[in-house]
Subunit: 414 residues, 2 copies
């Protein structure tokens, strides 16, 4: 096997543990006898297109060791989705040219559906252009919506963040509801699948614990049914905690977040499923409502990351390098659930074509019959993924996170 | 000294560590030779008015020991502000009657400005009615706006929550800004004082770290100046992280949160300084913006509480009982800063009249000259308050929090 260089790049919305995968790739690449240098793409695929390749060898080793404890994308991420190969080959050809110029034969792309699509196309085009590049996908998405893999690194931590926060906020409302806030609404991420919203349900140990109602994108939002459930819960418990996915939709297929809130400038405001629900409750039920929107806090909340999630993030990074060494190409690493109790998992792999641009939504067996909460089957699925704590180091009250130098290797193409 | 019963009650918005004060009062009361039984007011002063007194002796000792690890108000809190003594004596007379009926001679009220006002009036009326009740105030408020005391239990933890979350979210935006989110806005609590918003500034170690801009209620909001600063930061750093206090106000003295956002129902929507700022940036600077509203998550975030804060919360609870034993009345416990480095503190006390209905805002020396960030002096003040971690116990991925039985003692008055 010819020794060559490798590029690792991060893509899409970042997570609490994506740098754990970076760490796994880097460590395994440094150990691999078929990899010469490992470079980081600065801001994902942009770094390849712009020939901005970070020389990881120049980083402080302590910063690399602290990557698993650092949220966000240490090399920078991107939202760039490359066009289809048929419509526009320029970007892909440029990628191959940059790889050629820097003797890059291995590309590890760490992302979600879109990123797997990009990796897949690069591996196809390389073959076609007679420059073999081994492309291995490293899964990452808080949305947990990739098919084949049992779960996606990033999800366990966002799930833990939301479950912990909802337990805490529910305790808060429980103490205030006697003569103050009666309803609390929290909006979670997850535009197309309800995994994150569902995970917040883990906070409730009994029926009287919050969250009491979960609004999922998989279930058509019915305001009458929803308000009746809120009233029923308040009657029984005294207060009601609601979780709504940013992707919750009405019968018209429109996001409820787009229901026409008009801001102070007279523009229709997008986003805000949580504030829509809060206003609905306030005006229809005349109750005091509070609402929270954790937004990036939830996916960057490394301080409360799941140990299982971090372990898996590191493992999929390492496995990607191992697969490349085995001569595989166009594959994505997967997580395989071996057993539930005790929870056991291993890493596997699948053809990237099985992943690219596909979404796995919450299956019906994870949604309570009335559509407004989770089932014991979902609890069994989710619990091991949020289990375990691995706190960052703190200094003077704050977590210590790595900031890389990101020195670039000299450009050849310019 | 005549042995009699004591009531402890929680008031106002709850915090991550108010149950630490409950724990301090309960343990000290159980050890005190002048206190017979210690009862908890169910939902604050409501519990006294409604003769709903929790029999703490019936609680599981393990649940009491876990109170310092449990956020929210374990006995329930309240938003009830009693009327002035001159206008309406009924409520106060009722309180004295309930105390008389249950031989309660000690009242420990754990709250902010309003609660100190209530405690003060009870101590006055008791004297007038010939039934001596010793009232000691136990400070608590995330807002940190009580005068005399160096800081208020609850603040250190909400400060730590926000500083940690802003550091994490800033890392997130730093990785996304190349071709996605350029501005991130987070709204903190603090309707009348900027302590919480300022504390989020602790996340920034250097000028290029987020948050880059902090909008405080103490400084009149000037949109032109603000937008110019956002543009300057983006020019320099590539992205901009903004913290806005819910209490930020314009030159007209109105909350910017009330600037006329109209919801989907056509009603003017209150609350939302963060979404106002996010919309302003989006429309004026045409940039991609995200915004977060942690709301109750911030004050209930026990999982990331400050150890200093918890230590102080327990200490002020214990001290309240000690002061009662010394024969003091109408006093509130305070925290006294002895030195900054090393940070040393002790407990003191002051006449409740010095506290009741007074607010301490952020002094000018803690605000940067341009009004848009904090000073090194504020950092020196805040750092010890967020220092130290004391995580709760976790079980199956989630923190274990105490839920009290809250069995009531038999009513006598009914």
């Amino acid at each position: 096997m010819k020794k060559a260089n490798a590029v690792y790049a991060q893509s899409g919305g970042v997570t609490s543990v994506i740098n754990g995968s970076a760490y796994g790739v880097i460590k395994a690449a440094q150990e691999a006898n078929f990899i010469d240098n490992i470079y980081g793409g600065l801001f994902g695929i942009n770094g390849v297109l712009e020939e901005n390749l970070v020389d990881i060898a120049q980083e402080n080793p302590a910063d690399i060791e602290n990557l698993p404890f650092t949220p966000s994308g240490a090399f920078g991420s991107c939202r760039k989705k490359l066009p289809s190969l048929e419509k526009n080959r320029t970007d892909f050809e440029r990628i191959i040219d940059v790889f050629k110029a820097h003797d890059v034969r291995y590309f590890f792309y760490n992302g979600g559906n879109d990123s797997m699509d990009t990796a897949y196309k690069i591996s196809l085009l390389g073959k076609e252009m007679g420059y073999d590049v081994t492309c291995i996908g490293v899964p990452k998405t808080v949305d947990n919506d990739l098919p084949i893999t049992d779960n996606c690194p990033g999800f366990g931590s966002v799930a833990k963040y939301n479950a912990v926060s909802l337990r805490e906020a529910s305790f808060d409302v429980a103490s205030m509801h006697h003569d103050s806030t009666k309803v609390f609404v929290a909006e979670t991420m997850g535009r197309h699948a309800g995994w994150i919203a569902a995970s917040a349900g883990m906070a409730a140990k009994t029926e009287s614990d919050g969250p009491h109602v979960i609004l999922l994108p998989e279930i058509v939002f019915d305001s009458g049914k929803f308000l009746a459930e809120v009233e029923r819960v308040i009657q029984k418990v005294g207060f009601c905690v609601v979780v709504v996915s940013e992707g919750a939709q009405g019968a018209d297929g429109k996001f409820i977040a787009d229901s026409g809130t008009v801001d102070g400038f007279g523009h229709t405001q997008l986003g805000g499923a949580g504030s829509f629900i809060a206003e609905l409750v306030k005006h229809q039920l005349k109750l005091k409502v509070h609402n929270a929107l954790p937004d990036y806090f939830q996916r960057a909340g490394r301080h409360i990351a799941s140990k299982t999630d971090l372990d898996q993030a590191i493992a999929v990074g390492r496995e990607a390098v191992r697969l490349a060494g085995e001569g595989l190409n166009g594959e994505m690493v997967t997580i395989v659930r071996e057993s539930n109790s005790p929870y056991q998992w291993s890493v596997g792999h699948t053809d990237i074509a099985n992943i690219a641009n596909k979404e796995k939504v919450l299956p019906p067996e994870y949604i309570r019959e009335d559509g407004l909460h989770i089932t014991p089957a979902f609890r069994e699925y989710c619990e091991p993924l949020i289990t375990g704590e691995i706190f960052p180091k703190f200094e003077r009250g704050l977590p210590v996170y790595s900031k890389l130098k990101r020195n670039l290797i000299p450009k050849i193409l310019g």
